[in-house]
Subunit: 226 residues, 4 copies
Amino acid sequence: MKKKLSTKENPKQEERQPRRYSSEESRRLLIEATLDSIVDVGFSSTSVSEIVTRANLSRGMVHLYFDNKDTLLVAAAKHAAEVYFRNLSDQLESAGSRPQEIIETVILSDLGEALLNERMVKIWFAFRGEAHANKAITQFSDTRDEQLRGMIFDAFVEVAIEQGEPEPAKFARDTTHGTLALLEGMWTDFLLHSDSFSRKSAARIIFRFLSGVYPQHFDLDGAIVK
Amino acid sequence: MKKKLSTKENPKQEERQPRRYSSEESRRLLIEATLDSIVDVGFSSTSVSEIVTRANLSRGMVHLYFDNKDTLLVAAAKHAAEVYFRNLSDQLESAGSRPQEIIETVILSDLGEALLNERMVKIWFAFRGEAHANKAITQFSDTRDEQLRGMIFDAFVEVAIEQGEPEPAKFARDTTHGTLALLEGMWTDFLLHSDSFSRKSAARIIFRFLSGVYPQHFDLDGAIVK
Amino acid sequence: MKKKLSTKENPKQEERQPRRYSSEESRRLLIEATLDSIVDVGFSSTSVSEIVTRANLSRGMVHLYFDNKDTLLVAAAKHAAEVYFRNLSDQLESAGSRPQEIIETVILSDLGEALLNERMVKIWFAFRGEAHANKAITQFSDTRDEQLRGMIFDAFVEVAIEQGEPEPAKFARDTTHGTLALLEGMWTDFLLHSDSFSRKSAARIIFRFLSGVYPQHFDLDGAIVK
Amino acid sequence: MKKKLSTKENPKQEERQPRRYSSEESRRLLIEATLDSIVDVGFSSTSVSEIVTRANLSRGMVHLYFDNKDTLLVAAAKHAAEVYFRNLSDQLESAGSRPQEIIETVILSDLGEALLNERMVKIWFAFRGEAHANKAITQFSDTRDEQLRGMIFDAFVEVAIEQGEPEPAKFARDTTHGTLALLEGMWTDFLLHSDSFSRKSAARIIFRFLSGVYPQHFDLDGAIVK
DNA sequence: GATGAATGAGTTTTCATTCAT
DNA sequence: GATGAATGAAAACTCATTCAT
C-alpha cells in the first residue's frame, strides 16, 4: 500500500487502472495513506500529492471524499484514535474482571506491541503537535479518554478500600492520574528513544511504583490477583 | 491546516523604523518570533512571512542570518531547549545539595510556572511532532537530557542505599526513569487539559508514588530532608 | 469570481427518485437549470455540478444530451432567444395591423413584464458578456433580429410616407434603428437600476421621442391610431 | 504589451529577465493584461496564467499586488471606468459651455473612436455580464454616472426653458434618460454588429430624435448653437 | 439508456528563496 | 549589510469529462 513518493517508477508500465474500490474502501485507503505519510515524512510534509501517490488514487479523490485536506487530516486523527481505543477495548474484554487484572491489562496493553509502536507513537505526537492549531484534531489527541479513566479509577477505588486507605477515592484518583501519566511518559520515552526502549522495563517501573502504593496488590511483575 | 497569516495589524501605521539591531539581536528576535508563531498559529502555519511580521524585521533577514527557514526552526528548537535547561540549572543551583532536595527541586521546578506553562508546552509538543521528520530537531526535543538524568539517578542511588535496598543501582535507575516519565506525563496532561491542570495535584501525585518506594525520604508534600 | 456550489440543500433528503423523463424533457430541464444558474450565481460560476444539482438529474446527463457543457450553454442561449421571440410574436399576433399599432406593440411588449424582467435581463447580459468569446453564442445574443427589424421598418416607412417625409426609407431606417437602440438602452437601465426602473417612464420617453419625429402618429401615451 | 498565450516562442531566447518595474507600473501592467485577456479570450477564460503570460510577469505578482484574482478583476473594472470617465471629462473640458454644446460633446464623445471601440465595448459588456454575480464590479459597470447625468440634465433644462416647455424639468428628465438610453443602445449595436456600425449614422439618429423634441436647438448634424 | 464515482488537467493560491537596490 | 519586490515551484482545490456498472 505504501509507495514512496520519490520512488521513480515501478518498472511494469502502470497500466491505466480504472480499478474501483467501494467508496468506503477509498476513504480508508486515503486515511491510511495519510497516516503513512505522517509517519514517514511528517505532518508538515504531508501534502495531498504525497497522500494520493501513496494511496495510488487520483488527486480529486481527496476532495471527493473529504472535501478538503483538513477534513481528511481530522478523519485520520479520528481513525487513529478509534484504532487505539478499539484495540484496548478488545484486550480488556478478554481480561479478568478483578480490579488488579483490569489495571494490569490496561498497563500491559498500552505498552504492548499492538498499541505502542513506532507508527502509533509518531502519529499521536504528530497530531498533538498540531492539536492546538486545529480544534477538530484536539478532541482526538487524548489517549486517555473519560471512559478508560473511569474504569481504572473504579478499579483503584476497590483496591484502595481493600487496602484500608482512609480516603480511598482521593487515593484512587491520584494513583489513576499517576498511572496514566506514567504511561504517557513511557510513550514519550518510546518516541524519543525507541531504540533503547524496553517494554519490560517500562512495565516493571510502573508496577514498582504501584507496588509502593498498593503493596498487597501489585509487585514488580504486575498485579497480584488473589 | 493552513491559516491566513495572522494579520496582527497594529492600526497605528508602525512608522518605518530603520533602527538597526546587532546581528545577535536580530537572530534572537527571529527565534523569539518563530516560537511565538508556533505557539499562536502552530508549526505548520509558521511561515517566513508570519515570522518576519512578528519580528518586525525584513524578510531577507531569515536567510541572511539562518540561511533558510529550516535552520531557523532548528535554532528555535535549540533555543527553547537551552532556556529550559538553563532555567532548571538555575533553580538547582539555589537548591540544597542533599539528594532528596535535588530530586524535589527537579520535580517542583519542572512543574513550576517558569518551565511548565502554555507557551513552553506548545513549543515542546510542536517540535516533538516534527522531530522524527527533521533529525536536527530531534536532538533538542528531549527535555530529559543525560546530565539531568545522571544527577537524579545519583541522588536516587544515595537514597536507595540509605534505605538499604538490595540492588540500589537498579532500584534507582527504575525510580529515575519512572519519575521522569511521570513528569513527561504531567506535561502531556497540561497540554491536553491546561484548564483543569493543577500543579499541586501533579506534585502530590509524584510524591505519593515516591513515598511509596522511598517511604523514609518522601511524603505527599515532597522530600523529607533529615 | 468562483463561488462555492450554491448548496441549496433541501433538508428533507430528497428521496431517490428514479422517475425517468423523456429525452426531450431532460434536455429542457438541463437548459432551464442552466439559465437558473446563470441568473442566480452568474455565468462564470455556472458549473456542471451546479446545473445538474438544480436540474436534479445525474451528472452524466449533460454529456449524454449535449456532448459537453459548451453545447449546453449554446442551447440555453438559443432557448432564451426563442422564448423571447416567441413571446414577442405572440403579442404581435394579437395586436392590430396598423403600422402604429405594430410599433406600439413591439415597444410595450419589449418593456412588459413578460420580456423585460430580472431573469431575462441577467440572462441576456450574461450571454452578451461571453458572446465574443464564443461564436456560437453570438448568434443568439441579439434581441433585435432581422425579421423583427424588417417589420418595424416597414411600419415606420408607411408612417413616414403618410407624414409626407421627403425620404421616407431613410427616415424610417433611422427611426427604426433609434427605437431599437432606445429599447436596448432601457434594458441596460433595467439591468443596472432594476429597483428604480419604471416601465411607464421608459415607454413615455420612447413615445416622447417618437412623437417628436412622428407628431401626427405618436404622443406620450403611445400610438395615435386613426 | 500584448502577447498571445499560445504564441509559442519569441525567437530571441527570452533572457532571464529580472527587470523591475515600479510597483505602480506592475499593477498597471497586470490590469492592462487583464483587460486585454477579457477582450481577446473573454471573461471566463481569463485565468491568472493567461494574465501573467500577457503581462510577462511572474504569477506571484497577481497575489503580491492584488491579493487574489478577484481583486484584480475589480481593479480592472475600476480602471476601465476611470479611463472612460477621464476621457469623457477631457473632451468636455475643451467643449463650449453652452448647453447644446455640452450635449453634443457628450454624444459625439461617447460615439467617438476614443470611447466607443471594440476593446472598450467588449470590456464593458464582459463586466456587465458578471456584475450581478460580483457586487464589487457592479459599481463600476455603469457608464452613465450621476455627475454626467446631472450635467446633461442641467443642459437639457436650460434648453427646455428656452423652448418654452410647460414642464421643463420633466421634459429634460425624459430627454436625458432617453439620450443616455440611445447611447447605451448604440454601444450594444456596436458590440453585436461592429462591422456594419457607423458612428455617423448613430449620431445622426440621436440628433434626429433630439431635433424632434428640441427643434430649435438640434438638427440632424448636431447642436444648433446660437 | 442512465448513473455518479473517478480522473487529472488546469485553476487559484501560498510561500521559501533570490537578488537588485 | 539590509531590504522587500520579485520569482516560480509546489501547494490546495475545481471541475468538465469519462466510463464501468
